[in-house]
Symmetry: C2
């Protein structure tokens, strides 16, 4: 899919609409950079939010859970709103009001449907390759019992809002700020540390590949 994202009543950004993005490649990039999605659904009239590990599979999201999880699915699926946010920095403007954060944020509206049994192994492979690239081939195959105890939900990406702030401190031009005060951005990123082994064999390619997704691009050491 390469066409732009649809903007409708559900997906239109209301607050600071100029931060809305409709490029599908940008949506995919934000999703592919994340690990955890916050999945909202309605249970007995109340909102409930639960974190899930996830992966993108083409034009849908796969949410990885267990059959004992809190999201009880009707056969036709359940309506969800899925939030994924990366905080990329704190923006120090010269007033509290203009201070902000840099972020890349996606909200997907859709229906979570259980991946059927005969597609579950392929879906689990996609999730595994996203979280731990190459790990699938380093370990033994999943057993039928393990696959039966695994629940994977699929949510289409037809209706997704993308909101991004990615620039320095801004402020109204004549707003009484003290121009001598420092303004700028403190970047933040999710970074991998040194692998903690519980065995004395060498760290395998999958761990190095997962770490490479979370590279330290020059962090402060205090």
């Amino acid at each position: 899919m390469t066409e732009p994202l649809t903007v409708d009543d559900l997906t239109r950004i209301r607050r600071i609409p100029e931060r809305q993005r409709t490029d599908r490649a940008e949506l995919y990039g934000i999703l592919d950079a994340g690990l955890v999605a916050h999945v909202a659904f309605v249970r007995e009239g109340r909102p409930v939010v639960i974190p899930f590990l996830y992966a993108r599979d083409g034009d849908s999201l796969l949410l990885h859970g267990s059959t004992g999880g809190g999201l009880f699915l009707a056969p036709e699926g359940v309506e969800v709103s899925v939030g994924i946010t990366h905080v990329d920095g704190l923006v120090f403007a010269r007033s509290v009001f203009d201070s902000s954060a840099n972020y890349r944020s996606v909200v997907v509206h859709g229906r979570a449907v259980a991946v059927p049994a005969d597609e579950k192994e392929a879906a689990l492979l996609v999730v595994s390759e996203h979280l731990m690239p190459g790990r699938w081939d380093e370990v033994r195959a999943s057993t039928r019992k393990e696959l039966a105890a695994t629940s994977i939900l699929r949510v289409g990406l037809e209706r997704a809002s993308v909101k991004v702030r990615a620039y320095g401190a801004s402020e109204a031009p004549d707003d009484g700020e003290d121009r001598a005060v420092w303004a700028g951005v403190l970047p933040l990123a999710l970074v991998a540390g040194a692998a903690e082994s519980s065995s004395d064999v060498d760290v395998p390619a999958s761990v190095r590949a997962a770490a490479a997704r979370h590279v330290d691009s020059g962090t402060v050491r205090l």
Copy 2:
């Protein structure tokens, strides 16, 4: 408040219940380590999730928004479920099934109520001090117009679920794994980079204090 968290139908962890924590200090620690909350609510029968910057204020959460935001409040407030999750690592077990993530996760169930006008400045101070400690005193005071355009919502912490996984790779003892395969944890952390200045004055104490909340404790440089 020091008494343990209440476990009831709403806050009981159903999946892997042994990961539930009821220590209020642990709840506060997880909340104080975070920046963004995913706030779920019900709009016209549908679930909606929106990310908010937040801070903890004693035994409640403050959600920082704007009066133009997507969460339209009735005077008596709106029911919300608020999720905050820190991913602390990827856990490489010797099977895909036993592979996991280390995380600290909070879900708060409550009612979001707008902070009244006469308490808004004090609430904004709490949010500001959490995100950018000391910044409040480095910049000019907020104007009445700015405060009027700021919306802060308060959600009590009476009903909060805390779920934590913080250990190495586990596996069933006789599950066919290849013991020669590496197992362990790849730690992940949100880490501050070098401040990006848009002015040539020295980086102030507030930026150093915010960076100190996100210290690099030994990350991989690839």
